[in-house]
């Protein structure tokens, strides 16, 4: 694997390989010594043009557990605020000897530009670009679903027949997009539940079912319910009348959560707006995988960094695989 830019072009074999390596990484995290010497001497740069706490920390923890050196770069307070271009920033990192660049950017497609422009030779990992994709989040979600379903027997299995409902602001959500592509590649059936105002225009081309009524979707007894964060910072139009109405129609409250079949899980990528898209009862129940998702995120990112950096390097400027 040369870069990880999206899940839309990720094939089933590669996706399963990442998940299986993540299982091995997860096993090492219960050992007495959690640190592995695997990526000693490699440098990973976290290049964050947008605010992020958990994704950045998760990548940092993953790189450090594998003994890579980590350089954190936040655009705020850097030369970027003086007007430096992505190209110049990237070439500066290249000159410092970065082996992998983990990039989060407000513009959809920035990671692909970085990977294919020839500015840098480092491997590129997309940590969220605009409203495009957030592939490691989808990978950790798939890992979490698989782990809850199959436990220690997870290796090599896909998500055939597993039904996942994704609820909320699909329009602005890169997490939803990455999950739609990855989960369907792995054989899961995905249903989107969203207010009609927050559905993307091209959704008819996606391999999903769209519904507008949460109670109807939950009545089918899905295996996993993934709640998306209402991104208050992107609510620049009247997408729904009020937060209270949103919460009543599309929020996962205690009653809805309690009505799910045994074994169904409740997921949220975080940070949660408690009381808006998810109630505290649902978020803190045994069904909730919110904290497991955080733990699994480190293992999945270790797997991605391992597959990107450990082996023989493919020829420079290679395409996505």
């Amino acid at each position: 694997m040369r870069h990880l830019l999206d899940t839309q072009t990720l094939d089933r074999t590669t996706a399963l390989r990442i998940l299986d390596v993540a299982e091995d990484m997860s096993d090492t995290q219960s050992r007495e010594v959690k640190k592995l010497p695997t990526l000693r001497g490699k440098t990973v740069v976290n290049l964050f043009f947008e605010d992020s706490t958990r994704t950045r920390i998760s990548f940092e923890a993953a790189a450090k557990r594998l003994s890579a050196d980590v350089i954190n770069f936040a655009a705020k307070g850097s030369s970027v605020s003086k007007g430096e271009s992505l190209k110049d920033t990237a070439q500066t990192l290249q000159a410092m000897g970065a082996d992998a660049v983990v990039i989060r950017h407000g513009a959809s497609g920035a990671p692909r530009t970085l990977a294919t422009s020839g500015w840098i030779t480092a491997g590129v990992v997309n940590a969220g670009d605009g409203t495009h994709e957030h592939p490691t989040q989808a990978l950790l979600d798939a890992f979490t679903i698989r782990k809850r379903r199959f436990g220690a027997d997870s290796r090599g299995r896909d998500l055939s027949g597993i039904r996942v409902v994704i609820v909320g602001d699909v329009l602005h959500s890169r997490v939803a997009r990455s999950n739609v592509w990855l989960l369907t590649t792995l054989g899961a059936e995905v249903t989107l539940v969203t207010p009609p105002t927050l559905i993307p225009q091209n959704v008819s081309l996606w391999p999903v079912r769209v519904r507008y009524d949460l109670d109807e979707a939950l009545a089918d007894g899905p295996d996993a319910v993934m709640m998306l964060r209402i991104q208050l910072e992107r609510m620049n139009a009247a997408y729904f009348p009020s937060e209270r109405e949103y919460s009543r129609r599309w929020g996962l409250d205690a009653v809805r959560a309690a009505g799910l079949p045994d074994g169904s899980i409740v997921m949220h990528p975080g940070p949660m707006n408690r009381g808006l898209e998810i109630s505290s009862d649902a978020a803190d129940s045994d069904r909730s995988t919110v904290l497991e998702q955080v733990t699994n995120g480190v293992s999945v990112r270790m797997a991605v960094l391992y597959l990107l950096l450990a082996g023989e390097r493919e020829d420079e400027r290679g395409e996505v695989k």
């Binding site: 694997m1 390989r17 299986d20 390596v21 299982e23 091995d24 990484m25 096993d27 090492t28 050992r31 007495e32 010594v33 640190k35 592995l36 010497p37 695997t38 594998l66 290796r155 391992y306 597959l307 450990a310 082996g311 023989e312 390097r313």
Partner: protein, 176 residues
């Protein structure tokens, strides 16, 4: 391209039986013994040795698997390897006698990685090494304690171990 068979099924099973006895002799019984196979074929060999030792000593011997991929120093020289599961028996390895089991001993680098991997799991009182085939050409100061057969080989030759569990055949061959 010539291939010759250096160990046949009967030779392999004789060698393993002898190694089982040698392990019991040097450990003065099966107490505190833990066998850890190095994937892939070392795991099958460890399981067979464990069964033999349990049989002879009339006492169960814990057997596990120890993956060394993440501890190798030559990862950058090969296409990316996928790690295999590590399974440590329930009793752990602290204070035990750990016998590492692998099919072929060549450069010694896998065993170096295995020693590092053990260190991240616990602290055995003794670590020993059992090998089906020692083909020489060590690059590190590592030597086996129990050897099925010493097979002098040239660096260019390939030593193939085939076991029923994985290959449907049981033999050791050298390809020139």
């Amino acid at each position: 391209m010539s291939t010759r068979t250096v160990l046949q099924q009967a030779d392999i099973s004789r060698a393993l039986t002898r190694i089982a006895h040698e392990i019991l002799e040097s450990n003065r019984g099966a107490t505190d013994l833990v066998l850890l196979g190095i994937p892939t074929r070392g795991v099958a060999l460890a399981e067979r040795l464990g069964a033999l030792i349990s049989d002879i000593a009339q006492q169960p011997v814990p057997v596990g698997a120890l993956d060394v991929t993440l501890f190798r120093d030559d990862l950058a020289k090969h296409p990316t390897r996928s790690p295999r599961p590590t399974e440590i028996p329930a009793g752990g390895i602290d204070g035990r006698t750990v016998v590492l089991v692998d099919d072929v001993l060549f450069s010694g680098r896998s065993i170096r990685a295995a020693l590092d991997a053990i260190q991240s799991i616990g602290r055995p009182s003794v670590v020993r090494l059992a090998i089906l085939v020692d083909r020489g050409h060590r690059e590190l100061p590592i030597r086996p304690d129990f050897v099925g057969k010493n097979i002098p080989s040239s660096r260019q030759e390939r030593v193939n171990v085939r076991l029923f569990e994985y290959d449907g055949a049981e033999e050791v061959t050298i390809e020139a």
